[in-house]
């Protein structure tokens, strides 16, 4: 998916500016890191992409279509092509790990069996093969993070949006997860990751979009020599 943001601003009431005049283009099949300090606007930017928020100004084009104009059904169709990893995970508490992951495939029409086989496979890849039956609240932060990633990947999305996907896990596992994201990118998907983990960005050398107090300070490099306070 190709993403274009044109003069996008977002202000929360009463006058809290989260993003200001963002102009950005992400090509199809690109892996991009969005980085910045807490409150820089990373999560807001991601939420605009899958229409959890609407911009106060500007337009957001995904594959040439302005997503800000989409109606309810259009938003649903858009979200079916996107895999989401939220910072706060968002699981259905009544379902176990396997069913939480499988549900994302079932809402798109996969049968219970198909979706469970796929969920099984993904959870195994992510080192959670002993946790299928556990309820989300029984998992550690890192485990929940991996379940969220499995759910985002189950439909092989054309766009993967991840908000701090490796925030709660150790370096080895973070590497495995990044390898998975790279694999997804190599299959042609666009991957947008918000992170403040400098080491991760350095290792993968993808384009970095730096945000500072709602403004893009650099959107074209993979240079990570940024002032320390951003991190």
């Amino acid at each position: 998916m190709r993403i274009q943001l044109r003069h996008v601003s977002k202000t929360f009431p009463p006058r809290q500016r989260a993003l200001a005049d963002i102009n950005l283009e992400i090509s199809k099949g690109e892996l991009v890191f969005i980085c910045g300090a807490s409150g820089a606007g990373k999560s807001t930017l991601l939420k605009l992409l899958f229409r959890e928020l609407d911009p106060s100004e500007g337009e957001i084009l995904i594959d040439g279509h302005d997503v800000t104009r989409l109606r309810s059904r259009g938003v649903t169709r858009l979200r079916r092509k996107i895999g989401l990893v939220f910072q706060e995970f968002r699981f259905l508490p009544a379902l176990n790990v396997l069913d939480n992951v499988a549900l994302a495939a079932q809402v798109l029409g996969a049968s219970k069996k198909q979706s469970r086989v796929k969920a099984h496979q993904l959870l195994k890849e992510l080192g959670l093969k002993d946790r299928y039956d556990a309820k989300p609240f029984m998992l550690s932060g890192g485990e929940q993070q991996r379940v969220a990633i499995a759910r985002a990947l189950i439909n092989e999305p054309a766009l993967l949006i991840a908000d701090e996907p490796t925030g709660n896990i150790d370096d080895d596992l973070a590497d495995d997860i990044m390898q998975l994201f790279v694999k997804i990118r190599d299959r042609g998907a666009t991957v947008v990751i918000a992170t403040h983990q400098r080491a991760l960005i350095q290792r993968y050398g993808a384009r970095v979009i730096k945000l500072e107090r709602g403004f893009i300070t650099d959107a074209s490099s993979n240079n990570v020599s940024m002032p320390e306070y951003i991190w």
Partner: protein, 307 residues
């Protein structure tokens, strides 16, 4: 809807019933309380209609004969009255029968009649009008036609009583729709609010479904099914509570009603009434869920998106 979606919807309902058992029971109980009041009103209404019908059954037109008639003449007269479209039945009372009836009515004071000739009272025919046509204009029409018979001396019917009963029947019929409508609306809003509260508690669930790309139908279907179930259980509980209350208090109510209006018995809801009560819960549960869900989703969407 695809078969896999139907399966998913039922699995979600089953999971919700298992995990949110207490919340569902609380919602059903609140619905049951509201439906109990509605059901009690239905029972009151049914008994009031029964009472009015019983009162209506006591309304007759009495036509007094001018003279004693030959059997063939009498038979002809009775036939001519009986075939009138408004007439339900006709009963002949001879002079001797009228005398006996009068004596029995006087009871211990029947001695007052001693010395009077037994044919002092005229023979008469008692005309009962069909149910639903016992209004003052129909009675007057029939009375006019009977007055036209040569053998009839005079015709009487309780005109004032008929007019009052007519007004009461009209008031009860209007009351049924107005009060019933108000009760129905109140039930609808209470059920709707109950469902809405239950849904607010599950806001996160709906948001997650929206974010993973579930269609509106897929999001709403389990909640509507749950609403139907809650409504049906609520209706059944209300019906059971009404039956319990009726069985326990039947004698006291009948005694009270008997003293006030000479009603021999108080009846419970008939089969249609009982089915209607449960169906009302079922339908209100479904509509309440659907309306609340749409309102909630719309509010969230506008609160999230329009800032």
């Amino acid at each position: 809807m695809k078969l896999s979606f139907i399966g998913l919807v039922f699995r979600q309902v089953r999971s919700s019933l298992r995990h949110l058992c207490w919340s569902h029971m609380l919602t059903s109980l609140t619905m049951a309380l509201t439906l109990f009041v509605f059901g009690a009103f239905m029972m009151l209404q049914a008994n009031l209609e029964q009472l009015l019908m019983a009162w209506g059954d006591q309304i007759h037109i009495t036509a007094y004969l001018a003279r004693a008639l030959e059997p063939t003449e009498l038979e002809g007269l009775l036939k001519r009255v009986e075939i009138l479209p408004e007439v339900e039945r006709v009963r002949y009372t001879s002079q001797a029968q009228a005398w006996n009836d009068f004596q029995s009515a006087l009871g211990a004071q029947s001695g007052l009649l001693e010395g009077l000739p037994h044919d002092v009272l005229p023979a008469s025919i008692e005309i009962t009008i069909k149910r639903g046509q016992r209004d003052s204009s129909t009675l007057e029409q029939v009375a006019q036609r009977v007055r036209g018979e040569k053998a009839i001396a005079s015709v009487e019917y309780p005109q004032q009583w008929v007019e009052r009963l007519g007004l009461t029947v009209l008031a009860v019929a209007w009351g049924k729709w107005i009060v019933g409508g108000v009760f129905f609306l109140a039930t609808f809003f209470i059920v709707g609010s109950t469902v809405q509260l239950a849904l607010y508690a599950r806001r996160g669930e709906i948001e997650i479904m929206q974010l993973v790309g579930a269609s509106e139908t897929l999001i709403q279907a389990p909640f509507v099914l749950e609403g139907m179930l809650q409504g049906m259980v609520g209706g059944a509980l209300a019906l059971a509570a009404l039956w319990g209350g009726y069985t326990l208090l039947r004698e006291q109510i009948e005694g009270f009603a008997g003293a006030l209006w000479s009603v021999g018995y108080v009846r419970f809801l008939d089969l249609e009434g009982a089915v209607f009560l449960v169906a009302t819960g079922w339908i209100l549960g479904a509509i309440g869920s659907l309306v609340s869900l749409r309102r909630i989703v719309k509010t969230w969407r506008s609160s999230v998106v329009a800032v």
